[in-house]
Amino acid sequence: MADLLDEGTRGQLLEILKELPKTVRLIFFSQKPESPSCAQQRAILQEIAEISDKVRIERYDFVQDRDKARKFGIDKIPATAVVSDRDYGIRFFGLTMGYEFSSLVEAMILVSTGQSGLPEDFSALVGRIREPVHIEVMTTLT
């Protein structure tokens, strides 16, 4: 697989990833035979994982590993759950390229530090949501 990340990006990413306090698990769901977008997303994640041992890929098949898919709430592929020692509920559906690549890196920092980066008072307010909320941000890659 050709390199998807250029030299500069790899260098920047290494700087960021080596500072991560906790290992990040990129839990990836696709289905055999892989569609082009599944294959491409897997390649992106693999490249990230190669840069730092703070990042680990776990691959599952959407159909065969049905229980895993259910556990992580995966209903479509390609899907990437960004998890550390805890699952905070951050998912990416589709390719994490372009603007979404920065978003993926931000998510990795968030789950690794376990910090939302929000001021304490504001976090307390967010705690006032007491029912399950499913946010879906519809984006495009540009």
């Binding site: 939302s116 949501i129 499913h134 519809m138």
Partner: protein, 411 residues
């Protein structure tokens, strides 16, 4: 984008998905994505564009827990000094008690408070029918405003004044004794006042069949505009034959798999064009000369039993549906005053052009009265009139310490 992830980090109940709309086109179509980012909350509420995290949080709270959202907004306004509402004092004799929480009541509240009257507003909720209106096109100066938004604006305005508010319980009765009016709430709390402005509005008529109240909000609904998305791919009944029934059916056409419109008469009173439009939809079945006699299901709503009336063709049958919308009109919330003042044949409170009722010191405004036409702007106007008339009454009878003279002078 980052905002959704931050919220997921801060609260275990929040899950944040980033979805590539060009990869998942079916979902994008379902959510009507025409520009990105577009954020869906529980697949039901949508926010266009990038939102800062505080804004996104507020939108989510508003969508999933409106009461908590309202509480938070009140706290913020109080902290900024823009909210002066006082706690109610049971047993205290107020100069005016405003009963109701809709446009008439809030308008009366503003006018009474500006006369520096000692006011209490008593209502089960703030907003009333307006809250169930998706979009209002005939309120002057605010074309297309959402019902909840308008309520929010009214509320923010009235709460700038130091009046007491008792929100959350219904009024059981309003009686006049020698000295005051006594307002008794259903949970037993009592308030006294020298004058009453009664603006309790109207509410949706019920069928009057067994176990109906038990299923309200759990299968029985009144606002298709609000609740139609909840019935996506499900079977639903609409009861009624007027414009509101057909509008509800039309709202549901795009969501429900099957819609059964049930009407007890032969002819519909809805506008012909609306009837035509709804009848044309492939997933609507019309039952005329048919009534609902029973709700099926023990704990959960499973359907309804239908019966034919007036020799209607429809045989008595069970109809498996996931929900039922009652669109059979509105009734005035006048029961608490029926022993105090005579009502007209529609159950409305007769008023004169000063919003006085037949009982001295009892004023009324809005949809609960016999005013010609029920409109938000009419309720607002009449609420103001009622407050000014009540103020004059209190001055004349030396029942107020307010120093403000009659007439709302140019200020």
């Amino acid at each position: 984008m980052h905002a959704a992830q931050q919220l997921a980090m801060a609260n275990d109940l929040i899950r944040a998905d980033m979805v590539d709309a060009s990869e998942f086109t079916t979902l994008a179509q379902k959510y009507n994505v025409s520009g990105v980012p577009k954020t869906a909350i529980n697949g039901l509420h949508f926010i266009e564009g990038t939102q800062p995290v505080d804004r996104l949080f507020l939108e989510i709270l508003k969508a999933v827990n409106p009461d908590e959202y309202e509480k938070l907004r009140s706290e913020v306004r109080a902290a900024k000094g823009g909210r002066k509402v006082r706690n109610p004092k049971p047993g205290h004799v107020y100069e005016v008690a405003i009963i109701g929480g809709g446009p008439a009541a809030m308008s009366a509240g503003v006018y009474a408070a500006r006369k520096e009257l000692d006011v209490i507003m008593i209502a089960p909720e703030i907003g009333g029918q307006v809250n169930y209106t998706a979009s209002i096109d005939n309120y002057l100066g605010l074309p297309g405003i959402g019902g909840k938004e308008l309520t929010e604006m009214f509320r923010d305005h009235v709460e700038r004044y130091p009046l007491a508010q008792a929100v959350g319980d219904e009024v059981a009765s309003v009686q006049r004794d020698e000295e005051h009016f006594l307002v008794r709430l259903k949970k037993g709390v009592e308030y006294r006042a020298n004058a009453i402005i009664y603006c309790a509005g109207k509410e949706y008529r019920r069928l009057g069949i067994p176990r109906e109240e038990q299923f309200i909000g759990k299968g029985i609904a009144f606002c298709a505009t609000c609740d139609a998305p909840l019935y996506k791919g499900r079977r639903v009944a609409v009861v009624g034959g007027g414009n509101s029934a057909f509008t509800a059916a039309r709202d549901l056409v795009g969501f429900a798999s099957d819609i059964y419109l049930i009407h007890r008469r032969d002819a519909f009173t809805a506008d012909a064009a609306l009837v035509r439009e709804v009848s044309k939809a492939g997933n609507v079945t019309l039952f005329t000369k048919t009534i609902v006699t029973e709700i099926l299901g023990d704990e959960t709503f499973e359907g309804i039993r239908l019966a034919a009336v007036d020799n209607g063709a429809g045989a008595d049958q069970e109809l498996k549906v996931d929900g039922m919308f009652l669109e059979i009109g509105l009734i005035p919330n006048s029961a608490p005053v029926k022993a105090t003042v005579e009502l007209n044949e529609r159950g409305e409170i007769p008023i004169n052009h000063r919003n006085e009722t037949a009982v001295r010191g009892l004023f009324a405004a809005g949809d609960v009265t016999d005013v010609f036409e029920k409109q938000i702007c009419i309720a607002v106007g009449d609420g103001a009139k009622a407050a000014l008339a009540a103020h004059e009454y209190l001055l004349e009878h030396q029942l107020t310490e307010s120093k403000v003279k009659v007439g709302d002078a140019w200020e």
